[in-house]
Amino acid sequence: MSVLLYAPMVNVNEEQMNLVEWHKQPKEFVNKGELLATFETTKSTYDFHATDSGFFVPLVEAGSQVTVGEVIAALTDQPDEDIQTLLPSETEKLEAKPHSLQQTAGNRWTRKAEILAKRHNVPPQEMESLTSADVRITEEVVQAYLQQKSTTTGKQANQGFSNATELILILGGGNVACLVLDILARIPQQTAVAILDDNPALQNTTVMGVPVLGNLDRAKSLFDQNFFDKAALAVGILPARRELFEKLSNLGIPFANIIDPSAIIGVNASMGIGNMIMAFCRLGPESQIGDNNFLSAYANIEHHNRMGSHCTFGPGVAMSGGVTIGNSVRFGTGIFIEPRLTIGNNAVIASGVTLTADVPENTVVRAKANFHW
């Protein structure tokens, strides 16, 4: 039987080598095992022996470079045989390429559509019967189906495929950071990506598993690199809290509201940005608060209260309805406030006070019991 001869792999590091010499003349009969050619690689020369017997048909010239696996000659049964039928056709060459991936075109569904449908327990037969046979079932088709289902049942399903969350940069790595991280650990919609703090001792450490990546002034460049979506101030004291908020806001950095899942936000209650609302707090219905307020646990902002920005609270501050609070007001721990009072800007209300009258701006209200007479 007529056969083709291929350039052998002589040196595993080389795809190409020199065919130095043919040892037979064209059309000469060659016996199996006879010396036929000499190759030269960068490391050695190599004698190539005929793998079959037949009439010799050289297909490359002596002295040329050949590639490993290339057809170099044929050995034919007849002296003048046409070897064209032996040579691989172009289509065969194409088919020889390995199919490295699973077939896509024949699949009725995209993988994403399939996974999405499974996640939402959509029966595949139903999807397929609703979609015409020539349309590929894509994410969009499944989403539309889910949308329709959710309006008919009145249920609000989480239809998103991606797990995108808001990436939060924490400013400040002290104890307050632990409060914030503790909340974020329970909210899937927000993820802490890193902490910035000016304290050199905190650099290259982690706080509750979140790395401290440098000083506060790195916030701007990290934001420009899309490293995070919003910032959260883990600073509990004024005036630092206000200064940082204003400085970074001016640089264009947005702030996130961080709200513990146990907090209750009433109907029509509203808030600005950058507020920290710890466990068991409540914003009553129709209440409004501004930006950057820090509400420790058990703060009750009653219905129809109005509060400005940058106020800080110790735990357990309870207000009655209709109270108005200015900006940068500091509340201690365990305070009760009667209805419809007004507290001016920069006031300080000490721990344990029960407020029964308005407080003018810049006033410090002390609890009598705290004084040593």
Partner: protein
Amino acid sequence: MTTYLGSLQLHLQQLLSVDSTVLVMGEDILDPYGGAFKVTKGLSTKFPDRVITTPISEAGFIGVANGMALRGLKPIVEIMFGDFITLGADQIINYAAKFAAMYQSALDYHLVIRMPVGGGRGYGPTHSQCLEKLFLGIPHITILAPSIYHDPGLLLASAIQQPGPALFLEHKLLYSQELITPANSAFAVDLSDESFPLVRLTNNTEKTADLTLITYGGALWLPALLQKMAEEEIWLDVLIPSSLNQKAHPSISASASHTGRVVIVEEGAGPFGWGAQIAYDLQHAMLNRLTAPIAVIHAENTIIPATQALEQLHLPNLQRIEQKIYEVLS
């Protein structure tokens, strides 16, 4: 068009031209042979005094390079196959990595050890390995593994100019490949602004990524994988660091936080590898907020077969990666 090999050849020439303290040494690197993978081809003709062929003794010539580096030269050493680095491990771990910290001096010490690594060519168990995990975790060694998306020559130049020893891993399948840049890539490519950049690659710039894929080095399966995933509407955020002996790059954590689903692919064998460390870092950085367990794909935990068909099955391959992606998304 620049190939991976071409970039290395070009920058080696430039380094030798501009810096007379740079020299190149290794086995069989002189012309006309020019090294087993031809990276040093032409160098010994141009710079006969500074291209040194060595006996077959890795411990010996890495030791010589250590001495040269201590006296202010900048040797670039070639190990013919990365597998042979085991013979030089003592010189690297107990000497090169220790000088600066042990003697508490600001040594001007420069050493790069280049080596071809990885399988895919049927070279068998002792010429195909990725042994970098033997050195990962050793302090004060830089371990670099430029991919086809990095410019390996530029990284080599940065490596020899920075103080301290660097291992420089060149995946042998890459040599003949054309470098992929933002200009010629079918998919969006972005490089971080660092001397040893992180590459970011995605098959959809408009949609939110569904999954974070982290890999390094060879990874020639990437374009086909991105193409196939695009057909299946699965959007990948692929991150390819060039520097390995460090914690997960912040951009990796950020991406993982976004997607909540992570697949790590490395070519080295079995467990206890780079992927395991990255998975650990991510688990920490994300406060356990992962939607699915992090998957790490690596070579089978046994020797690499010489038969190419078996080798394909042994190494991380497209089918395995594709299947794992579906698993992690489901």
